[in-house]
């Protein structure tokens, strides 16, 4: 059965759920939907029906920019020679509370 262009436009949305208030949102998976309202409802039914989420984000998959694997080196190299980014680099005088 040939599909019309109309029907083919059920685009992909990525779903992010927040497990409990205050926690970060995590990627849960995706759903297909024609608009944001349906995407939100579908996401809730698919990824949150067991009470796993208190909050949901849905984002059209096309809106997401991802790092490319070839970026891995320049983007994410932890740079173990950059100790100045870490608290342990700094010496606090004895007996003085910093916080």
């Amino acid at each position: 059965m040939a599909d019309t262009g109309l029907e083919a436009s059920w685009p992909l949305w990525e779903v992010f759920t927040q497990g409990a208030h205050g926690e970060p949102f995590a990627h849960a998976g995706s759903v297909h939907a024609t608009d944001a309202e349906l995407a939100l409802q579908n996401a809730r039914d698919v990824y949150a029906r067991r009470g796993e989420a208190v909050n949901l984000w849905v984002v059209p998959a096309t809106a997401i920019t991802a790092s490319a694997p070839s970026d891995a080196g320049p983007f994410f190299d932890p740079g173990n020679d950059k100790a100045y980014r870490h608290p342990q680099f700094y010496v606090a005088p004895r007996g003085v509370r910093i916080f």
Binding site: W10, V31, H32, T34, E37, L38, Q41, N42, D45, V46
Partner: protein
């Protein structure tokens, strides 16, 4: 839309009401009332469950199943309470699986076959709008058990209403085909909506027990919700004509018998068995 002449079985004991009309004596009005609440949702939930595996898209299959589960869950709670109130040891299963069709107290609208997706969604929407308003009213009931069940069911029904109304809008304001199907569904269902707002002796009797629902107010608010969604859906609200009724007194359509044949067959084939 409600009148004082109530259809009754010939064997039911009767009495004259203050208006001089012969009406049945209602033995246990709270039991009758809970049956109505439970049967509406049992039958509607059963109809919804018929869509499992046959929905128009995978995501919607999951959504429809959710609604079916919620409704059957509500029904189970209502019927369990009904059995307790009746005081004859009937569980929710005994009530669901071992009553004849004429003993069911659901409104006619919920027993109609699903038809196409437009008919299913339109029926769901018209019922959801009523159910949300009803549960809202019943959350104030003097009977704490009823109030608690109402409050819980209200939460879930609000989500159903959101779902069904958004679909009515998308079908009404979608393609020419979907618009035509939605309007046709609305026109066919309208004559079944009046029954939802009927008031009879059972309602009067439970009002005395603190379960008070202002049917006229409910109806007005329901019309408001429906008008708003139909406007967004570019659909025409049908004019009121003769309303089909009888479900609250066990006078059902021919559809209910077939539905119950399927629903009850396994249980009835093994009377007394546990599952």
């Amino acid at each position: 839309m409600s009148d004082d002449t109530v259809v009754s079985n010939d064997a039911t004991p009767t009495v004259f009401n203050p208006a001089g009309v012969r009406v049945p004596i209602i033995q246990n009005p709270l039991f009758e009332y809970l049956l109505r609440l439970g049967d509406d949702r049992l039958i509607l939930g059963h109809r919804m469950s018929e869509w499992c595996g046959h929905g128009p898209i995978l995501e919607e299959d999951i959504a429809l199943s959710n609604i079916a589960l919620d409704l059957i869950g509500h029904a189970s709670s209502m019927l369990a309470l009904a059995g307790t109130v009746e005081g004859q040891g009937r569980t929710e299963d005994a009530l669901a699986y071992f009553r004849e069709g004429v003993a069911f107290r659901n409104a006619l609208i919920v027993e109609l076959p699903n038809g196409d997706f437009a008919f299913t969604m339109m029926r769901q929407f018209l019922f959801d709008a009523y159910s949300v308003l009803l549960w809202d009213a019943l959350s104030q009931a003097a009977d704490a058990r009823v109030a608690a069940l109402a409050a819980k069911s209200l939460k879930e029904d609000k989500y159903h209403l959101r779902h069904s109304s958004e679909w009515v809008v998308r079908l009404g304001d979608g393609t020419d085909e979907s618009h035509g199907r939605a309007q046709q569904a609305l026109d066919a269902l309208w004559r079944y909506t009046g029954e939802l707002f009927d008031r009879d002796g059972v309602d009067d009797a439970v009002a005395v027990q603190g379960i008070v629902v202002d049917h006229a107010a409910l109806y007005a608010r329901w019309q408001g919700i429906v008008a708003d969604v139909l406007r967004r859906a570019t659909l025409v609200m049908p004019t009121d004509g003769a309303m089909r009724r009888g479900g609250r007194a066990g006078r059902h359509t021919e559809h209910l018998g077939h539905l119950l044949s399927v629903m009850q067959i396994v249980a009835r084939s093994h009377p007394g068995a546990a599952w």
